[in-house]
């Protein structure tokens, strides 16, 4: 007995001591200007080359270190030779948030952390691990101020100080967001009846389904399927009704109403439910993972899609092109169409969030934050963005700098060989190997090759002189897309962990998903309506009105910050 007591007390003492001493040292850094930063002159790419090699280490998120180093070799060499800059890009094969927790716990992290969620950035800032950037930006990063404009204000905390910057920001690089897709070849058979409202879409799908009840192997064909557990169905529908992030916004009163509390919500529910009841919706739509859905699409069993535009793109035409090779018929594809409910001014299918969801911070481990800021300044310049996104300019790569103009290689413009000639080649030349703060939005510059449009670090779309896409297939797919983006930046809401509203938000999201599933699988329209109203009551009792107010307040706060 005595032995046990001794052991127990020792253990408790041990626990107590270890708990109390668990702290990670915070480092001091010198955040003033560094007079000793000498440069030897601006190089051909606009970078003021330092005398002493500038070394920056940064954590970039998820990845395999060996693979990442391998892919970065061309850029490594390029930056060393022409810029006298060396990067140590650190990646781990662990979930980034978990790793960041450990970094905080051990006090062991590099000078810069990028591609982190806003939430994690806030945690680092709260613990004083992030360097204040306000003065640094003023002194060394005029490009950032210029490019971000008023959006930079959204990065300020309550004291007006800036501790984080966005990464993967910018004006929307997509053409389409939510959409109402349809199989082009089947739709052509009907004489290309263009549809502009949800009701017309339904009619079109119905007609096509009558003509194509089964595919070549005798399997049933469905008008719609899904791989998002039903959420894409209401997401896209809401965009057709002009809802913003699922809320109806009354601009005058500033009131946000969640869609479940609106009459349009009921319309949407009945609309989708009709697909289900008439057997036009794949009965397994709630079970499909992306790969299951992709299999159905590839086998020609899905006529249309109410959801995200690139899903049908990747699972449809890209997969068929790859599979059928030279025998591929360009008309076997999906077209994306913007659909608007009657009476709606503008559909909100393409959302453009200027500041994106990811952040970059300079940590207190940085020895010379000012030098890092200088680098940031260069990275956000148009030429910097091009080099970050496309790799080393040169004859081997997809682009080169010819007479001061940024020209793309002809082979890279061949759409049907895009993967080989464009994506693969630029990857081999270090594209996106090092990326700390660059935007993923559209690059606009007079030096850009006039033969392409919508150029971003992710993609570029070749066009002809009339401004149409060079590739016929792309033209076919996008001829009916409005492509008008709405600025969703100020509508982003942050949910902090210690705020009880985050719980409410999560609960409502979860409950909404299961209620929605119940609603749209109802056996009759009456039942669907009843389920909808029941869901409305349930969600309101869970605190939906509080959430609506919180979202409205967030918007107002963002607006105030933006207009500072």
């Amino acid at each position: 007995m005595k032995r046990k007591l001794i052991f127990l007390s020792l253990a408790l003492l041990f626990l107590f001591v270890t708990a109390c001493s668990k702290s990670s040292e915070k480092s001091k850094n010198d955040d003033g200007t560094d007079e000793a930063f000498e440069t030897v002159g601006v190089n051909e790419y606009g970078w003021d080359v330092p005398k002493e090699t500038l070394k920056i280490s940064y954590y970039a998120g998820f990845g395999d270190q060996a693979e990442s180093d391998e892919l970065a070799k061309p850029m490594e060499q390029f930056y060393k030779e022409k810029f006298n800059v060396e990067f140590e890009k650190i990646v781990y094969s662990v979930d980034m948030n978990e790793r960041l927790n450990l970094m905080l716990g051990t006090g062991n992290y590099p000078e810069v952390i990028t591609f982190m969620s806003d939430d994690m950035a806030e945690k680092f800032i709260q613990q004083g691990r992030a360097v204040e950037l306000t003065d640094l930006i003023d002194k060394y990063a005029p490009n950032i101020k210029e490019q971000l404009g008023d959006y930079l204000n959204l990065m300020r905390n309550d004291d007006g100080k800036i501790y984080k910057l966005p990464v993967m920001w910018g004006e929307n690089p997509n053409v389409a967001g939510w959409d109402f897709a349809v199989r082009y070849d089947w739709w052509k058979e009907l004489g290309e009846p263009i549809y502009r409202t949800p009701e017309e879409y339904y009619q079109t799908l119905k007609k096509i389904m009558e003509r194509h009840p089964v595919n070549e192997e005798g399997q049933k064909v469905y008008a719609l399927s899904d791989n998002t557990q039903g959420s894409a169905l209401y997401g896209a529908m809401l965009s057709a009704y002009g809802f913003k992030n699922g809320y109806k916004v009354d601009e005058k009163s500033g009131e946000f109403t969640h869609w479940i509390n609106t009459p349009e919500g009921l319309e949407i529910a009945k609309y989708i439910n009709r697909f289900y009841r008439e057997g036009m919706l794949d009965p397994d739509f709630l079970n499909n993972k992306f790969e299951d859905w992709q299999a159905k699409v590839m086998n020609g069993r899905v006529i249309g899609n109410i959801g995200t535009w690139w899903h049908t793109w990747v699972a449809g035409q890209e997969a068929w092109a790859q599979q059928e090779g030279d025998a591929y018929n360009i008309e076997k594809r999906y077209i994306n169409v913007t659909v608007k409910a009657p009476g709606v001014e503008q559909a909100t299918d393409v959302a453009s969030n200027f500041i994106g969801n990811y952040r970059v911070i300079i940590t207190d481990k940085a020895k010379h934050p000012d030098r890092i800021m200088r680098w940031f300044n260069w990275e956000v310049s148009p030429i910097g963005t091009m080099i970050t996104g496309y790799g080393v300019p040169g004859p081997d790569n997809v682009w080169d700098i010819v007479d001061g103009k940024w020209i793309f290689k002809d082979s890279a413009l061949e759409y049907n060989k895009k993967n080989e000639n464009f994506h693969a080649v630029r990857e081999a030349n270090g594209a996106q190997a090092y990326w700390m703060v660059t935007k993923s939005g559209w690059i606009r510059d007079e030096r850009l090759d006039p033969r392409v449009t919508r150029v971003s670090v992710y993609d570029m779309w070749p066009i002809n002189e009339e401004g149409d896409f060079l590739d016929e297939g792309v033209n076919l797919s996008w001829q009916y897309v409005d492509g008008k983006a709405w600025d969703s930046t100020l509508y982003t809401v942050t949910f902090k962990a210690d705020n009880p509203i985050s719980n409410t938000n999560q609960t409502i999201q979860d409950t909404l998903l299961s209620e929605w599933a119940k609603i749209i699988t109802s056996a009759s329209e009456k039942e669907a309506e009843a389920n909808f109203l029941a869901a409305r009551d349930k969600l309101n009792s869970l605190g939906l009105h509080d959430l609506e107010r919180y979202v409205a307040d967030s918007y107002k706060a963002n607006l105030a910050k933006f207009n500072q």
Partner: protein
């Protein structure tokens, strides 16, 4: 022969001695054992008990990187928060049902399998079946889920057969019915785990003294009699041990399976404590909350283990400690 509570000491030393001297003598005799024990204790102190200070953080608003002094003390707030989450009783119900199914059907199946395998007379067949039986253990849940969908989906094998036989007119949405979920999950768990779990029982069966069977044969026991009167009692310590330990996991009803097999329509039935805490604790960055719930489950688990152990000691005179 079992680990009874009585201490069997050496009793060929009738001289009365003082308590202290007796203790000293015992220590000397047990010296070697104590040396080994000390090493083990030192190891467990460092590797198992030292990190347990993490539990303290569940009483604070703690976040990794902060010191204890910097974190606000909140006492039982996180524990209370758990019970004030909406649907909390629903998820506790689901957790208990799923674990109970696992502790009953799921517990007995490997034993039965082991006994059946044991009855196979042809050696190569026995070894082959045994090897095949554990293969599902190595197939990831993602693949299992996709196979289940292929089987039970509206166009799946089962529906196909039923439609052809004319037993149903429209395909059954087995995967969409919440009430089927528990049966589905338990079946999937058994499918995946029965072979692997039976390994320990097969090895336990191998440890039953062969002479007992000889004696049984002499007494006129048939095959079933052998299994019932000799094999089963022979593996009783292992069975009891695994059962008692299993009870401690009553609040861990799986995680990956629910995420993969569950759909929005089955949420009422598939949401369990672990999935809930993952979304409301870990994903939202609420470290202390997640720690608190984990601690609660552990306390309850250990309590159940000790309780069941005591019952077992009373009923069968066997205890795991």
């Amino acid at each position: 022969m079992q680990g009874s509570a009585a201490k069997i000491g050496y009793d060929y030393e009738p001289k009365p001695v003082s308590k202290g001297a007796r203790k000293l003598r015992r220590l000397r005799r047990e010296k070697e054992l104590w040396i080994i024990a000390a090493i083990a204790l030192a190891w467990v102190l460092v590797f198992a008990y030292a990190p347990m200070y993490g539990i303290i953080y569940s009483f604070f608003e703690y976040y990794p990187g902060m010191t204890l002094a910097e974190s606000k003390f909140v006492g039982l707030k996180h524990y209370k928060d758990f019970f004030s989450l909406p649907d909390v009783w629903l998820i506790i119900r689901n957790t208990l049902v799923i674990s109970t199914l696992g502790l009953t059907i799921g517990f007995v199946s490997p034993i039965i399998l082991a006994l059946l395998i044991n009855e196979i007379r042809v050696r190569w067949f026995k070894r082959t079946i045994q090897t095949i039986s554990y293969l599902p253990h190595f197939v990831s849940w993602i693949v299992v889920a996709s196979i289940i969908f292929t089987l039970l989906g509206s166009e799946g094998f089962v529906n196909d057969v039923l439609l052809k036989l004319g037993w149903i007119e429209r395909p059954l949405t087995i995967l969409g019915e919440g009430s089927y979920f528990w049966a589905l999950l338990t079946s999937a768990n058994i499918w995946k785990g029965v072979g692997w779990s039976s390994i320990i029982y097969i090895s336990a069966i191998a440890g039953v003294d062969q002479e007992l069977y000889q004696a049984g044969a002499v007494d006129g026991l048939g095959r079933f009699g052998m299994a019932w009167h000799i094999t089963l009692p022979g593996i009783r310590p292992t069975v009891l041990l695994l059962f008692i330990l299993g009870i401690g996991s009553l609040l861990n009803a799986g995680f990956e399976q629910q995420l993969l097999l569950g759909t929005p329509k089955t949420r009422e039935y598939h949401e369990v404590i672990d999935t809930y805490v993952y979304r409301y604790g870990i994903q939202m960055g609420r470290y202390s909350f997640a720690t608190a719930v984990g601690f609660m489950s552990s306390v309850l688990g250990l309590f159940l283990v000790l309780l069941t152990n005591r019952i077992s000691k009373k009923l069968t005179d066997m205890s795991i400690i």
